[in-house]
């Protein structure tokens, strides 16, 4: 029953106004609180930005994966802000020490990636263990976040949730499963409400790939390999999805725009033709 409810909630959110996604999500949670955890972790909302006071107010991105209660963990200092109480902080999730090192490496790597591809914006990477044991080179998950604000109203949010698990077929092969969501919101807000235009939506795709990693190497090298594999995979997916947005959605929008324009012109032409016909008929009748 819960699965059906969950799927129904997702379907509903998929069809509701994307600009009010957060509001609709909260409403659904009120209807079915037991789905709150799943919905919060499954529905991607525009990323929020916070500053790490312990790291020169460096900005980091916030999503449900680095949240605990109302605080969000900073990838730079590995601390929750606003700071949690001592009791809550003890129960708060943190990556294991070796995985935290990988997280730092990933943050640095994807920061370079962000600079290369986005030429601005913010990036954050968060890892967490899938097993209770300490990270030993496999079975971990994470999320890679990118956000760029062209203006206050136009945003590009890229959310890559990945899961790295050992492939059952071979010990040296890992399965990378990446679920990517791109939330694009373009808003041209003019104070003249008549000329307001907005284009918003999100696109989600899931990709799986099996890549071999030499597990005989030390953990550091294995971790580096994981980061490199993830980087290439995410790079590939992002370019693919961007092409998809450009070639499909924007072209579709253009098509609609042109059709609208042409239809308006056609209607006016029809009216003029009707008038002309009426005049001709009148002329004939007068004869």
């Amino acid at each position: 029953m819960s699965d059906a409810q969950f799927d129904a909630a997702l379907d509903l959110l998929r069809r509701l106004n994307p600009t009010k996604l957060q509001e609709n999500l909260n409403n659904l949670i009120e209807l079915q609180p037991n789905l709150a955890q799943d919905l919060l972790s499954s529905v991607d909302v525009p990323l929020s930005i916070r500053k790490d006071p312990t790291d020169s107010n460096r900005e980091y991105l916030c999503c449900d994966y680095n949240r605990d209660i109302d605080s969000f963990r900073s990838p730079w200092s590995n601390t929750y802000f606003p700071e949690l109480s001592s009791e809550d902080s003890q129960d708060s999730p943190f990556p294991s020490t070796p995985l935290r090192q990988v997280e730092i490496l990933a943050n640095d790597s994807f920061d370079i990636y962000r600079d290369l591809y986005y030429e601005g914006g913010i990036s954050s990477v968060y890892f967490w263990d899938l097993n209770e044991e300490e990270f030993d080179g496999h079975d971990f998950a994470g999320v890679v976040l990118f956000k760029k604000n062209q203006s206050d109203h136009s945003n590009w949010d890229s959310i890559h949730v990945f899961e790295v698990t050992a492939s059952p077929s071979s010990s040296d092969t890992f399965n990378y499963r990446v679920t990517t969501t791109i939330i694009l919101h373009l808003d041209k807000t003019n104070y003249d409400h008549d000329s307001q235009m907005m284009l918003s939506g999100n696109l989600t795709r899931q990709t799986e790939k099996d890549i071999g990693v030499d597990m005989s190497r030390p953990l550091e090298i294995i971790s580096t390999s994981h980061v490199a594999n993830l980087g290439s995979l995410i790079e590939d997916i992002e370019s693919q999805m961007r092409n998809l947005l450009e070639t499909v959605y924007f072209e579709k929008t253009r098509d609609i725009f042109h059709q609208t324009k042409n239809a308006a012109i056609a209607s006016s032409a029809e009216e003029t033709n009707k008038d002309a016909h009426a005049e001709v008929i009148k002329g004939l009748q007068s004869l």
Binding site: I69, L116, K252
Partner: protein, 684 residues
Amino acid sequence: MSSESIPKIPERPSRTKTVELSPSPGTEAGNAKASSEPSTLVEKPTVPRQRPMLKAKTMTSFESGAASVGLPQVPLQRPIRRSTTEELNNVMDNTSKELEEIENLISKHSARSTCKKKISTASRDGEVISISHNEQGTPLSMKESFTPHPLLPETNRHTEDEDNDETSLSSSLVNLSNDEISKASGSGVCPGKEGVNAVLDHKVEDKGILENDTTPEGIIQPVDVNKNVEDDKSCAQAWTENADSGVKAAKITKLAESSFEELQKHQEEQEKKIFQNPTEEESTTSLNDKAGIENSAEENPQPAISSTSIVAVPANGIKIPSKSKSEQGNNIPMVPQSRPRRNLEASVKKEGSPNVENKPILEEQDPIEVDAEEKHKSPVLPVERPKKHAPPPVPKKPSSRIAAFQEMLQKRQQQDLHNNGTSPATTNSENMMKKATESSTAANTTKADFTNKLNGLFALPGLISPGQLPASLGKKLSLPDADSPGEKEEQSQTKNVSLSTTRRARGPRGRKLPSKVAGVEKIEEDSNSNEIEIFNNWNVYSFPSKEVALEHITSNKQPTILSNEHSEDALSEEVRDIRKGQLKQPSNETSDAVSTIALEEKRENTANAESVPLSPTVGNSETVSEKSLSLSEAIANRDQDDLTEIEEQRMENEMEAELGRQLSGSYEDVDSAVNSAEAPYSPR
């Protein structure tokens, strides 16, 4: 003055100097010998015309170039080459300072040599030319001063034969240079040269025949030999003979060719080394040569010689480039005849100037290095040409950075995963690059077929799930990685999975919901079935009158006591009667009270007798009413029935206690108490 100018000279390429030194000892004396070789060289002139195709690559080209001295067209072709060597020139820019210094020196000496003045005044380009000339010319001038002195070991090494050859070659080169220079100086700036060089004219005339017969060999050794006497001569001849020609464009080409000439010279020097062992040794040690030159200058007893040497420096400098120009012209006759426009000439000159600057660098370097550079340069020239014709694809700015980033990742992965053979990341990155190019082209093509795509993408609801793509588009948008064979080996598979089937990773465990969500309470869902809930809105209490109750009791007393077996049947009948009575009579009539009393008595006889509702209401209120009736009955029985008098006292006590409870509201307790009080009757 001469000593000051000398120290700078040593920096120049040792080979040129060595070559210069070698001819110097026998220059004047060996002129006649030199004339003998030119004859041999004269036979070759036919070859040079063909060689231009081969150009600088071979030494023969230089030789042939000497024979074809008269070809002024060559320079036109050269500018193209110069432009190709722009990069090299840029690299050589660092040496401009040294060139400037040399220019200054030359300018000082220019007063003595009219040729220099002319060139320097010609233009900015002319200055560059003069610089190049000066560089080469200075060693020549030194040679002149040194040649007369046999003390120098280097000069002693030169054999007479060699000297003759060199002189002949030099003379030929001088002629060539003169021709070219005259062309270059076609502006006619130097009318006074003739007067200045009048003294040298006779020498020039003597060599004139030989010069016409110049052979490539003379070009090879060039600078050195020519410098001795011909420096002044060349200027004079150039101005006299070619003053009319005044080809300005020739200057440009010559300038541009100067660098190329140097390369050729170095090659020539190498050849000379092969033939002349002693000279090679000297050339290899350029510094030693320079020092020897200086020593010789110091040793010169005649100060006038030194002064002449200084004067000759510019002259030589002028000659040298001219020679080189002639050589180049010979080497490259095949180059297009269409000269660059005059507007373009300036640019060509600019291009040529850096080339000229390149010379000093080469000269300054050790001979071995210079040779190596020459070898490298000669092949480089053809390579650069195609670049001009078809420039390489210009990488985009971000892509280059991205490519560098990808390369970095590739290296890492290759290092990390070399055991696995080909790393997946490398193939991915390579594919990414391919994909980037393909995607751009695909984007253009897809626009045309956009409507076709829409059939699959924007289907009606229900046809295709949002997570799935049509097969046609899926292929286009699918990762190219899957196509690469390397990845197939690696068993790396990329596939898009619809969200409906698989869900993404769950977040870290132990998280707590946000406070806003955590406080939300579940709204209970009510079932759609309708349920009737009964409330006790009213109760009916009927108290029978005492008379009726007593009659009823007396009439029914015996059967109730005697027959316990039929007690329940009787009870049911009594209840029916009571109900009938209630329906017929108001609740306050005594008949009902009697029936209820009788009922109560029977209940006493039956221990487990159930309470019978007296009213349509259901619940405790009914029992309470019955119990209240039982109390009244007990009271009535006490008054009228003697049998119960025995137990009256005990009953009263008990009933009073029960009444007390009854007042507190616990009717059930009262009922139980009543039952317990009436229990003693049952054994009866």
